[in-house]
Symmetry: C2
Subunit: 289 residues, 2 copies
Amino acid sequence: MDLRSIKYFIALANELHYWNTAAKMNITQSALSRQIQSLESELNVVLFDRNKRNVKLTPAGSFLKQKWEVELNELDFIHNFARQIHLGERGTIKIAHPDSISASIMPDLLATISSEFPKLQIELVQVLYENQQAFLSNYKIDLAITRDTNNTSGIKSTKIYTDNLALVVPEDHPYKTIKDVSTLSLAEQRFILPTIDEGSSYGLIIQNFFKSFDVVPEVYLQSEFGSTIIALVKKHLGIAILPDSYLHHESTGLRFIKLPFETDLYINWRADDHNPVLSNVLNLILKKL
Amino acid sequence: MDLRSIKYFIALANELHYWNTAAKMNITQSALSRQIQSLESELNVVLFDRNKRNVKLTPAGSFLKQKWEVELNELDFIHNFARQIHLGERGTIKIAHPDSISASIMPDLLATISSEFPKLQIELVQVLYENQQAFLSNYKIDLAITRDTNNTSGIKSTKIYTDNLALVVPEDHPYKTIKDVSTLSLAEQRFILPTIDEGSSYGLIIQNFFKSFDVVPEVYLQSEFGSTIIALVKKHLGIAILPDSYLHHESTGLRFIKLPFETDLYINWRADDHNPVLSNVLNLILKKL
DNA sequence: TTTATTAATGATTATTTTGCATTAATGGAT
DNA sequence: ATCCATTAATGCAAAATAATCATTAATAAA
């Protein structure tokens, strides 16, 4: 049963006149007549009471007109919706991102995405470093923003941002600029550092910093979460090394001393993910870069 | 867009294999492939992610599968329902009937109809005599049971029942049988009679009764509704003449004296009404007669 | 590297739909 | 009553659409 013939039927049910309806539908009266006939024979329902002069809906026809109008509308809506999904304008995307950028580049990024695709639902997730890759592979997240490149096959990565490392100290700390930092004084500091995983390139950069001063830091506290680290520094429990982007967080009572070491931000996604939502968002991010 | 191709789509979405699906649907793989392609191009939505080896639903395809399954079910239900209406098994019929038969032949009639067409909805209406014809013509009722034949063009009538008139008196009334009734005593009675309309054949019969006794009755109360009349007779406010079928009503405290005058029952319907529900019901009634 | 599997596609055939011309029924006008 | 205009159905030919068969091309597995 063709939806087109149902549309013809509804038009005829409104006009109750074959010639007029056929004209409106841009077909001949003959074609319309046969369309209705085939509908009737397919349904085994007489739709119109008609003689050579008059056309009138039967009770069954009147019932079907009512119902079909609703159904056609519904289908129309569904098809439009599907088209939006196809175009990547609808749907959901789950993005994991590190805490450090939640106040700096994330707000910009989200604003851009949602102004370009206002119907898109974005879910933000904080995922522990060790789980990120698995979550991506298992479709628990669609996009991961990380400070490490991903070497897994099936996952693609691109660098999207670079920021400096900064030494984070309380406002009353003797370190005012980079020039105050020396091997001697560094060795006396107590450090609060992120949990550094084996082979993490982010961890490597931090190690490089210490190596450049030929110091092995006293690390007495570790946390995965930057906001925790910041709170601890504020309470004079130590000093920290964090990406510069934390400056965007609430940072009164703290001093960020920019260091000549850079840390990169990458986005990671499944190479074989053809979800149009993802490619749209990806394109947008890469275009903005 | 053909519903058949949507069914193919759903089958393929379940199988995710063209050859198997084509076999199940009794078409060739080539035909199925082209059906899906034409669906996709008509919708402007890619339904499956596929290469020469694998078939997988796209997000839009998966959405459509869900939605279309529901819609197809709905349509199926609608079409079946329409078929039943067509066959006159479903739908509604509105029947007007006089009060007098609501306890005698109506229950039988309704039982017959609803056992034959259990899905039929029957609406019973009490319509004032003067409105009956107009209501029928204006499609407010489909079937009118009356005590008068209908002379309007476009309305068909058939007699379905005949019953006797009866004199209705309180149990303690001196009239015990027809033999007690005389011109002299009749003239002393106070009568409660139905509102008698100009040209009503039912009214004519009642007039004939009085004429046969050469009496002009004292009518001091008139009511359209038999049950009201009966209540009044019970309270000794007068005596009445009613169709015998009122005997089936609650009638303790009353005596029905059968009179040698008959009143007929007719059914009336629109001559041009092709509603299958009506013709079914009509056939049933006429067959039972 | 070879083989088996499998979706797509070109060419042909079959089916369905359409348009044109005509027919037959019917309501209204004379 | 009769004729006329209107209008839905229909026979036939043409056009459009869909199906089949045979083949191709990609690819996962042996």
